[in-house]
């Protein structure tokens, strides 16, 4: 106790002795913090601004600026390879998002409403899925799909879109399951119990009560899965079949043969699409009454 008193007395003494000095130091520290933060925000946006600016570059190579123009945007329409790659990405993204959302939602509801020993093992598996480096996923899936498709003769696993969807759905399933679980754990199960007590069959309770309660999380998870799939490069590069090359893999191969301004142009359009999807997620969550912090946590997948 004496020690505690002593430290407290020292602290009080320190505080009163230099209160006036602190006021000036405090504002200096605050200004420093603000300046630092603004600098970091500029750092975060530097390459994005560069990509957007360079999408108006008319030149042979992306890196060297020639002059301003809209040629690169026109090239998207005229070059079928680019258009096809973007379409493959969007198709894969939609299917992968639907699949991951369905699997993840069911798993998330089960984890929130049927807690038990199995949840421990299941979360373990989800954690394993989300911490395994993507490159390991990629090199593991490639021989596995070759084994299923060629050695076992299951033709469906040789289909380009199916392969991409499988590869993109793994991480997203885990993320959707986390988000849905987090939402339902925060809501009381009384409504579902009431529905069951009123003799609603289990499926009707599920459709009419549980799912609507989880809906904001389901939509957020679905849109996040879509963006994650659009973004997926590593797994896609390994499992893709020629003919169904998704956009990021097209960019990766262009990296070796020379980047052209069209890449920046498509990236700018894709960025706008992603921002739109994210804004939708935020609106959905805001409507459901989440605070900025909760939205951040949902989007960070924790």
């Amino acid at each position: 106790m004496t020690e505690l008193h002593a430290t407290r007395a020292i602290a009080v003494a320190e505080g009163s002795r230099s209160r006036s000095r602190f006021r000036t130091r405090r504002s200096a520290a605050d200004i420093g913090l603000t300046v630092w933060s603004i600098a970091v925000f500029l750092f975060l946006f530097a390459p994005i601004i560069v990509i957007i600016a360079y999408s108006f570059n008319v030149g042979r190579l992306l890196v060297s600026w020639d002059h301003f123009g809209f040629d690169s945007f026109a090239a998207i329409v005229t070059k079928p390879a680019i258009r096809d790659a973007v379409l493959v990405s969007i198709r894969t993204g939609a299917v992968a998002a639907l699949l991951a959302t369905a699997l993840g939602t069911l798993a998330g509801i089960a984890m929130a409403r049927r807690p038990g020993k199995w949840v421990f093992w299941f979360i373990g598996l989800l954690l394993l899925v989300s911490v395994t480096p993507e490159i390991v996923d990629a090199v593991a899936l490639l021989p596995w799909l070759v084994f299923l498709g060629q050695d076992l003769g299951l033709g469906i696993f040789s289909d380009g879109i199916v392969r991409l969807v499988i590869g993109h759905s793994l991480f997203s399933t885990a993320i959707v399951a986390y988000i849905v679980r987090a939402r339902l754990v925060g809501l009381d199960a009384q409504l579902e119990e009431a529905s069951a007590d009123l003799y609603a069959p289990p499926l009707r309770t599920f459709w009419r009560v549980t799912l609507p309660l989880a809906l904001p999380a389901v939509l957020a998870g679905g849109l996040l899965s879509f963006t994650l799939s659009l973004d997926n490069t590593i797994v896609a590069a390994f499992v893709q079949v020629s003919g169904t090359t998704p956009w990021p893999v097209y960019v990766l191969s262009a990296l070796r043969s020379g980047l052209r301004p069209e890449i920046a142009a498509v990236s700018t359009i894709m960025l706008l699409l992603t921002l739109f999807a994210l804004a939708m997620v935020a609106v959905v969550l805001r409507r459901a009454g989440d605070s900025a912090t909760q939205i951040a946590r949902t989007m960070a997948g924790s």
Binding site: I48, V131, I135, L141, P143, L275
Partner: protein
């Protein structure tokens, strides 16, 4: 009253079964296969793997001096990158959660998330454009006189470090923001009312309470950073500075699936061991603080 309603609900196995099955079949099985490959060998020029003779030889091969240097380099980039993210992102998260105006916080969070959700490959290419010897930064630095001759940063370890810090910084800022936000103003005010100054409040109230968020941020950055493949390829060149590139090249160009698998398993082991070592270090470092607090409580009772 609970028992009659229990059978009226969908059973847990039915709900979670599809996800279980999907992940077991497309995650556990393939990764298990890689583990199995890693004990095999590459038969001849055209074969990719064979498992009729099992050994740890591929692991020994993967740790031979040429590849071992890459492991050390990856660990260096991983640790330095994570530390830089913490040092750079920490003040930003603190500013956003504590100092920034309340009504601007949602917007600031959205701004942090924009790069996070921009295509990973594309934003890395953005850095390639910036750092290129013929790029605008190089021209600018030469014009100002800070740099003689073109900027020679691209395809070096520094460029990779800039790239990974950039790419994983939002993953550090977001959990730190949540952690600092959760500490709340009232506890800090209480600390100040009790006479602690700014620095003391920060080190003895804010940081200990935000510790779970700091740990989460470090893990969220360190784990994917160690497995990074894209940043190293775009900014580090084809030399192969990170393990991820080594693994990829064994599968894609060398066609030695056995060796690539052993490298992939080692990559996971390195990550797990480093995280375990970090946890032990944290436990030892916070030991004095914990034992001191325990003593004070013992005195009071």
């Amino acid at each position: 009253m609970a028992s009659p309603s229990a059978p009226r609900r969908l059973p847990a196995p039915l709900l979670a079964f599809p996800a279980w099955a999907w992940l077991l079949f497309f995650f556990v099985a393939p990764v298990g296969m890689v583990l199995w490959f890693s004990f095999g060998y590459k038969p001849g020029i055209f074969g990719t793997h064979a498992n009729d003779v099992l050994s740890f030889d591929r692991y020994i091969e993967a740790l031979s001096p040429t590849f071992f240097a890459t492991f050390v380099n990856t660990l260096w980039v991983g640790l330095a990158g994570t530390a830089l993210c913490l040092v750079i992102g920490g003040p930003v998260a603190y500013w956003m959660a504590v100092k920034a105006p309340m009504n601007r916080r949602g917007l600031l969070l959205a701004l942090v998330m924009v790069p996070f959700w921009t295509n990973f490959l594309v934003r890395t290419i953005g850095w390639q454009v910036i750092l290129a010897p013929e790029g605008w930064l190089s021209t600018l630095l030469q014009a100002v006189g800070l740099q003689e001759g073109p900027l020679e940063l691209l395809y070096t370890r520094t460029a990779v470090l800039i790239g990974v810090v950039y790419n994983y910084l939002p993953l550090m800022i977001l959990p730190l923001f949540v952690a600092f936000d959760r500490v709340g103003g009232s506890l800090r005010e209480a600390s100040k009312d009790l006479g602690a100054n700014r620095i003391r409040t920060f080190t003895q109230v804010t940081v200990p309470l935000a510790q779970p968020g700091i740990v989460a941020g470090v893990l969220l950055v360190f784990i994917p950073l160690m497995g990074d493949y894209i940043t190293a390829t775009v900014l580090g060149g084809a030399k192969g500075n990170m393990i991820g590139q080594l693994v990829a090249s064994q599968f894609q160009t060398a066609q030695n699936w056995a060796l690539g698998s052993a490298m992939a398993v080692l990559l996971i082991l390195v990550i797990a061991l480093t995280v375990a070592a970090g946890a032990l270090l944290l436990w030892l470092l916070t030991w004095p603080a914990r034992s001191r607090r325990r003593l004070v409580l013992g005195d009071a009772s």
